[in-house]
């Protein structure tokens, strides 16, 4: 069923755009061109996360780290394989992407762990980035309880992500 959703939406989009007299061909090209600058912007951020990740696993640090966290994580029903992703995602979106693909490659894209990782990644944003950029043009320095509430909701979304992937 879900395989039909996107193709149908794309057809609908094109039909709508043609009715609205949009030159879809040239608009598509100008949008697709932007992907080059986007990748150029995030390339080095992804590199730093991969260096850290490779060293973290190769040195065996990740084993200790996961062991330390596993009692908490197992109570909450979160696989410890996702520790790095859960910690980095709120700070760095591109870092999160690097860790997400690492999970796909290690465990296979259709495994339970990978689906959990996808749902965790997809259902939250980089909280600290949003907090930084959105308030950049105001005098507001203290965000009150905005950050704690956001973190609480984030933990909640991680827990139900792992729960829901067991059933769907």
């Amino acid at each position: 069923m879900s395989n039909y959703v996107l193709p149908i939406l794309i057809v609908a989009l094109f039909v709508f755009a043609i009715i609205k007299k949009v030159n879809t061909y040239s608009v598509f090209v100008s949008g697709a061109t932007k992907s080059l600058t986007l990748i150029a912007d995030i390339f080095a951020y992804i590199l730093t996360i991969f260096i850290a990740l490779e060293l973290f696993t190769a040195s065996g640090l990740s084993v200790y780290f996961c062991k330390a966290l596993s009692p908490i994580f197992s109570v909450l029903g979160i696989p410890t394989e996702l520790t790095e992703l859960i910690i980095v995602k709120p700070f760095s979106g591109s870092g999160g992407l690097a860790l997400l693909t690492d999970v796909y490659q290690k465990y296979g894209a259709d495994s339970y762990i990978s689906r959990c990782a996808s749902v965790i990644f997809g259902s939250s944003e980089t909280v600290f980035y949003v907090a930084t950029v959105y308030f950049s043009k105001t005098k507001i320095k203290k965000l009150g309880f905005a950050i704690p509430v956001a973190m609480l909701c984030l933990i909640f979304s991680v827990i139900i992500s792992c729960l829901i992937c067991r059933f769907i």
Partner: protein, 196 residues
């Protein structure tokens, strides 16, 4: 705030590089350099698959924007926004609508400018954060995304046979966590008012 993220990422990076390399020098010194360099190769691989995914979706999203479909979605969202954010000035509520609808449609680059403007229009100049601003920030942090384009693309690139079966779980989780966020913010501000 930007400063703080920088400090935290800097701290993570420094600690792992130094501690990781020192441990590796003791247990497997021959693998130190190949480990670091393999990160470069992995980055290139990921960036090439991302480039392919982004090119296709940014092209489609540009059509979506040019056809004005995002404005229609923003209009449909207005009553919900009025309920969640309460009475806001028209300029602010317009930007909130654009921000949330572009988030839902995965138009990341359109959601940031409108988010900044919405926060500015809601600002009362007191230097203190108000309910509307807190709400917008937290709803953005939870992001309801209707079509998680990047994730689907990456799953296909990594050999997934049913790449879109995460659309529904992501939708359910983000709706639940956004609802929780809205309730918590409303409760917290009620509590603050009573305290005063």
């Amino acid at each position: 705030m930007f400063f703080i993220i920088n400090i935290i990422m800097n701290l993570i990076f420094n600690t792992i590089v130094i501690v990781g390399l020192i441990i590796m020098l003791f247990i497997k010194p021959d693998l130190c350099m190949s480990t670091i360099l393999s990160a470069g190769g992995k980055t290139v691989n990921l960036c090439i698959s991302l480039l392919g995914i982004y090119a296709v979706w940014l092209g489609l999203l540009e059509i979506l924007e040019a056809s004005g479909l995002n404005k229609i979605v923003a209009k449909l969202l207005r009553p919900i926004i009025k309920f969640v954010f309460g009475e806001q000035n028209p300029k602010a509520s317009e930007q909130i609508a654009i921000n949330i609808s572009s988030n839902m449609l995965g138009l990341g680059n359109a959601s940031t400018p409108s988010g900044i403007k919405a926060i500015q229009f809601m600002d009362d100049g007191s230097g203190r954060i108000n309910q509307g601003q807190t709400m917008l920030m937290i709803i953005n942090s939870m992001s309801i995304q209707l079509i998680p384009t990047t994730i689907i693309g990456l799953r296909i690139a990594n050999g997934s046979l049913n790449s879109s079966n995460i659309i529904l779980p992501i939708l359910i989780v983000s709706i639940l966590s956004t609802t929780l966020a809205i309730v918590l913010v409303k409760l917290a501000f009620k509590f603050l008012k009573r305290k005063k």
